[in-house]
């Protein structure tokens, strides 16, 4: 039986390790974003600009620390997983309140988790499919599971299980659940996170104000957040976002193109941050015996896929595309920041001789044509294409190009009408099951559309989803990564950080490896 009592002790220990700095309270921050949020609600957040904002407005029962891995307490001060793994008990904190001053109680947790696990409502319900029933007595919440679920604790620290007010939701205007969520997100907002939605002019400006009833304490012993509010401006153009920061009109700008990182690092008024992320860039390869048009598919041969991986100089790609601000992947299946990721250094390091040997063994004729499908208008993809054309010509591959827009690429991925195409991924949850399911487990989405269907991998994945022994689960994941790297259904490429430029008086801003924008502990040094 695993029992954890964390809360203030852990928090105090964490903070004491940080050299103390006189924190200044008050003021508001203006932050330039690449895209606007549409509906910030735990279950309807399905695009990154929404997902990454949820935890500012709604708090979760458990939380992860800044490393994105360690679980700590949230609205629940402790949790306890039953020995048989069939249930979970959480104890809520005393005196926690929503932003309207009403108490956060068991019924709100029951309401929120039931809503989050309802497949008719939430696109994320699949991540909570083990939940059978949620009930509450006093400040004790019991979650009954239909099977042991090693991911459930992490899921309670994830945006989609954040707590909304049952009463406020019920009282919100609108017929459907989504209409209620929409109206709650604007008029008379009630939330449980460090901030509250104050106003939202779609496409232009979104304003958050501090939640006066938030429970978590800052370094000065007073409740968070430090700032009075945040103004989010939507500035879709990269160059304009940077100019806005340089002109002093905003205090921060996200999604800085990597080509501009060095320039901003040299600017003494700007603090250029590269936050480690779970974002990986890779290219799925079609592993089916025949292509969609019925012709023979040379990529069905694992040796050709391995040869292409060896013939690709990832360090050169990192230099060319990211100006060095990234690194070649160390696991084919997930970013190194993900839990249970294997890291024995970069995989498939550039080795032209090995590539030539493998391609000869595969019996692939010189001048064989392959097509790379890239995003039209993407500067990164254009660089990748010309680099791969040169690198692969060394092993006799004639790389053709096909340019499409995002949804077309998505449709091709689903239908298998491609040879190789560029793609990327950021984890939404802390557990590796999401990314491993997407990239490798055939029933989820045909192993990211590659058609790769490996029995051993699939059964390991299924077993790992009910394995409650962390050591055994880690072994299963190690083996899955071994198989995946060996079989190479992807062209393994690189990991990229989140590049955020801040005015140098902004302190304590964090973008987590999952991408969440954390403003609760941000303060302005005036």
């Amino acid at each position: 039986m695993k029992k954890l009592l964390m809360a203030t002790v852990a928090a105090a220990a964490m903070f004491s390790a940080v050299p103390s700095m006189a924190i200044e309270r008050g003021g508001s921050l203006t932050f330039a974003r690449y895209d606007d949020s549409t509906l910030i609600d735990p279950i309807y957040a399905d695009r990154n600009p929404d997902i990454w904002m949820v935890t500012n407005l709604y708090d979760t029962l458990l939380r992860t620390e800044a490393d994105g891995k360690t679980i700590t307490s949230g609205l629940a001060q402790s949790y306890d997983v039953a020995e048989d793994g069939q249930s979970l008990t959480l104890t809520l904190r005393d005196d926690i309140m929503f932003s309207d001053g009403t108490p956060i109680e068991g019924k709100d947790v029951v309401f929120s988790l039931t809503r989050a696990s309802d497949p008719d409502l939430s696109p994320w319900a699949g991540l909570l499919s083990s939940i059978e029933e949620v009930s509450a007595t006093g400040n004790q919440v019991t979650i009954k599971l239909n099977r042991p679920d090693p991911t459930i604790v992490l899921m309670l620290a994830t945006f989609n299980t954040a707590i909304v007010s049952a009463d406020a939701f019920e009282a919100a205007s609108g017929e459907t659940d989504q209409e209620k969520a929409q109206s709650l997100s604007i008029d008379g907002f009630v939330g449980s996170g460090p901030f509250m939605m104050k106003s939202h002019q779609r496409g232009t400006l979104m304003q958050f104000g501090a939640n006066p009833h938030y429970w978590r304490e800052g370094e000065d012993g007073e409740p968070l957040p430090y700032m009075d509010g945040i103004n989010f401006l939507v500035i879709p153009d990269d160059a304009t976002r940077i100019l806005k920061l340089q002109a002093g009109e905003v205090d921060g700008a996200e999604f800085i193109p990597f080509a501009r990182v060095a320039e901003l690092e040299a600017d003494e008024n700007i603090n250029m941050e590269l936050f480690p992320s779970t974002r990986i860039i890779y290219s799925p390869m079609n592993t089916r015996d025949t292509r969609a048009d019925g012709s023979d598919n040379p990529l069905a041969d694992m040796k050709l896929r391995q040869a292409l991986n060896y013939a690709t100089d990832k360090n050169a790609l990192v230099q060319l595309v990211l100006q060095g601000a990234g690194k070649p992947v160390t696991s084919g299946l997930m970013a190194s920041t993900t839990q249970l990721a294997t890291d024995n250094g970069p995989i498939y390091q550039y080795d032209l001789d090995k590539a030539k040997t493998l391609i000869a063994e595969a019996g692939v004729a010189d001048g064989t044509e392959l097509t790379l499908t890239i995003l039209a208008g993407s500067a990164d993809d254009a660089i990748i294409l010309s680099a791969l054309q040169q690198m692969w010509s060394q092993i006799g591959i004639d790389l053709k190009v096909e340019q499409v827009d995002g949804p077309t690429r998505g449709a091709k991925n689903r239908s298998g009408e491609f040879d190789i195409h560029t793609y990327g991924w950021v984890n939404d949850v802390n557990d590796p099951a999401q990314v491993a399911g997407w990239l490798g487990y055939y029933p989820t989405a045909k192993a990211v559309g590659t058609g790769w269907n490996n029995e051993e991998f699939n059964s390991l994945y299924e077993a790992s989803n009910v394995e409650m022994d962390p050591a055994k689960r880690a072994e299963q994941y190690a083996r899955m990564q071994e198989i995946y790297n060996e079989e190479a259904p992807l062209l393994f490429m690189y990991e990229t950080p989140f590049a955020v430029a801040l005015s140098d008086d902004v302190k304590g801003y964090v973008q987590t490896p999952l991408g969440n924008n954390e403003f609760a502990s941000t303060w302005i040094d005036r």
Binding site: T38, L39, Y44, D46, P119, P123, G126, Q178, Q182, Q201, R202, G203, T204, L233, V234, I235, P236, D237, A239, T240, L243, K244, Q246, A247, E249, V404, D405, G406, P407, T408, R409, G410, A411, K412, R414, Y423, G424, W425, D428, W438, P443, T444, A445, K446, V448
Partner: protein, 313 residues
């Protein structure tokens, strides 16, 4: 035919245009590869979840049923909910339309202010150094990409000199004037080049016309000749051109709206297409169709006022 009955006959012609636009856009948008479900959940959803999303959005229905629902909605004034914005399409469009409209009118105003006087100066000093200078300056404006001019203006006048804000839209009328000055100027540099060329050649044509020579022979002052005879007649083709380009401007402010972070419909259209947001794309196209029809109608009316011969057409 009186002006009023002319107006109504032109108004009636809009209806078939509208119907054709509705059918075309409905079919075209569905002919694009990929659907809203794919765009929405691109790298996230399982095959099963994609089916659920399609069911929820009614995409699993046969095409003719989907079209029936669309037509019924349009005639009841309901354009449905935007998939991307998770809000009613009409609301989303009405939120974004003012910024684009403001920018377009502002840009047209600038274009006329820049192109009008210079076209006259160039035409009346035909083939002199003055004419050549004006024409080559506009040639530069015409051949430089809009986003580049926009970024130059932003970098120097906004970020460096701090005379203007770096993009945005503001909240009050005066703030809109201030925020949109650079984007309007950017667009105007391009359109004014086209208007200038057209107006210059019309003026040259008219100045040589017999009725102008007759007016001059009558001994009318040059001021009246230019104002009453030359300007009015030279403007006819320019009004047509302007009408056509407003239609283009309205949908073509996309680049300017992106560079200057103006929350307009141009950008919204691009986002809608990338999200395969069928209801929003349909709503925007209908809006554009209505606006362009109205502008063409106004163009015709102004032309008819300038040139009475056109009223019988």
């Amino acid at each position: 035919m009186s002006t009023i009955s002319y107006f109504f006959s032109r108004l009636l012609q809009i209806i078939p245009t509208f119907l054709i636009v509705m059918v075309i856009i409905f079919l075209l948008v569905r002919a694009l590869p990929g659907d809203p479900a794919i765009a929405m959940a691109d790298a996230k959803a399982t095959t099963e979840q994609l089916e659920q999303i399609r069911q929820r959005l009614g995409l699993d229905q046969p095409l003719w049923i989907q079209f029936g629902i669309f037509v019924k909605n349009v005639f009841t004034g309901n354009l449905g909910d935007s998939i991307l914005m998770k809000a009613p399409v009409t609301q989303v469009i009405l939120e974004r339309l003012p910024a684009s409209g403001f920018l377009t009118l502002y840009a047209v105003l600038f274009s006329l202010l820049i192109a009008g006087p210079l076209a006259f100066v160039a035409a009346l000093n035909r083939n002199t150094w003055l004419d050549t200078t004006i024409r080559s300056a506009f040639q530069v404006g015409l051949s430089t990409p809009v986003f580049y001019i926009g970024l130059l203006l932003l970098t120097f006048l906004a970020a460096r000199m701090r005379w203007f804000p770096v993009g945005g839209y503001g909240t009050t009328f005066l703030e809109h004037m201030y925020h949109l000055l650079l984007p309007a100027l950017t667009v105007a540099l391009y359109t004014s080049a086209i208007i200038m060329r057209n107006l210059r050649s019309s003026v040259i044509e008219v100045v040589d016309a017999e009725y102008v020579q007759f007016a001059r022979a009558k001994g009318l002052p040059e001021r009246i000749i230019l104002g009453r005879h030359v300007l009015r007649n030279a403007l006819i083709s320019t009004v047509t051109l302007l009408g056509l380009s407003i239609g283009n401007l309205m949908s073509g402010t996309l680049v300017t709206e992106t560079v200057f972070a103006v929350p307009g419909v141009g950008r919204l259209m691009l986002d809608a297409i990338f999200a395969r947001d069928y209801p929003l794309i349909q709503g925007l196209t209908l809006t554009f169709a209505v606006l362009v029809s109205i502008i063409f109608l106004l163009t015709d009316l102004i032309q008819a006022w300038l040139d009475p011969r056109l009223r019988v057409a």
